[in-house]
Amino acid sequence: MRLRIANRLAEVFFALDRIDVALHEAGLADAQRADIRLVIEELLVNTVHHGYPDGQPGWIEIRLDVDREAVTVEIGDDAAPFDPLAQPEPTLPGDLADRHEIGGLGIHLVRALASDVRYARDARGNRLTLRFFHPSPEPTT
């Protein structure tokens, strides 16, 4: 599956719904679909909010591939360079109401929920490749 959208929030949620349907049709369990949706939401919303500081129009491309081992998601865009792996870990005092900074939670969720994240920057822009391994089946005794 391949989707190309404009850098607008409404299109992000249109893409998330399309991806959800595709993953449902591929037979993924609700929990894995929710994790993948969450990771993609955090990344795309972040790109739309912060990747185009001058408000210029841009594009975001999402590719989805499901095989026996994992779901692979590739996200490309022409936004400002942004490597989520290079961001510092957020401070987590045990109560979000005690945090002083606003950001950092989304990228923390991305790193926690994706099995593997790789970032590259080329002439076209940012490229992020994420993998989500299928959960192991419960052992039967």
Partner: protein, 131 residues
């Protein structure tokens, strides 16, 4: 699926807000708006209960709304307690250490017991202060 909200106030000291559906960057504004209306109606020192049994999904945008609500209630010496989060939402809470474990309840009985204990502590403190 979007976000559906419903409120019930059993007394000025306690208001419950039920959340159903998905709380994300598209819907958090609806929650903020509802909280902006509800929170001023809760008495100072009162309790806001967020009932999460039918909330399927939360992203960082929703977490920020919860944090804002907890801060606002705390400034008025009140509490924001979370009731019945389902596995997906609970997993997200765990990853970001969203709230102290003792402010999340699996069911209404646990929550009522907690509020009763808090109430007794307040009365005991008042009595020892008087004595």
């Amino acid at each position: 699926m979007t976000l559906t909200l419903r409120t019930e106030s059993s007394s000025p000291n306690r208001t419950t807000l039920w959340l159903q559906g998905r709380l994300d960057a598209e819907t958090f504004g609806e929650l903020d708006e509802a909280l902006g209306t509800i929170m001023p109606t809760v008495a100072d020192g009162g309790t806001l209960v967020l009932e999460l049994g039918a909330l399927d999904y939360i992203s960082s945008a929703g977490l920020r709304s919860f944090a804002k609500a907890r801060k606002a209630m705390r400034e008025r010496h009140g509490h924001t307690l979370l009731l019945n989060p389902q596995p997906q939402v609970r997993k997200v809470f765990d990853i970001v250490k969203a709230v102290p474990v003792n402010e999340v309840f699996a069911n209404t009985e646990e929550l009522d017991d907690y509020l009763d204990r808090m109430q007794r502590q307040v009365i005991e403190q008042q009595e020892s202060g008087e004595g």
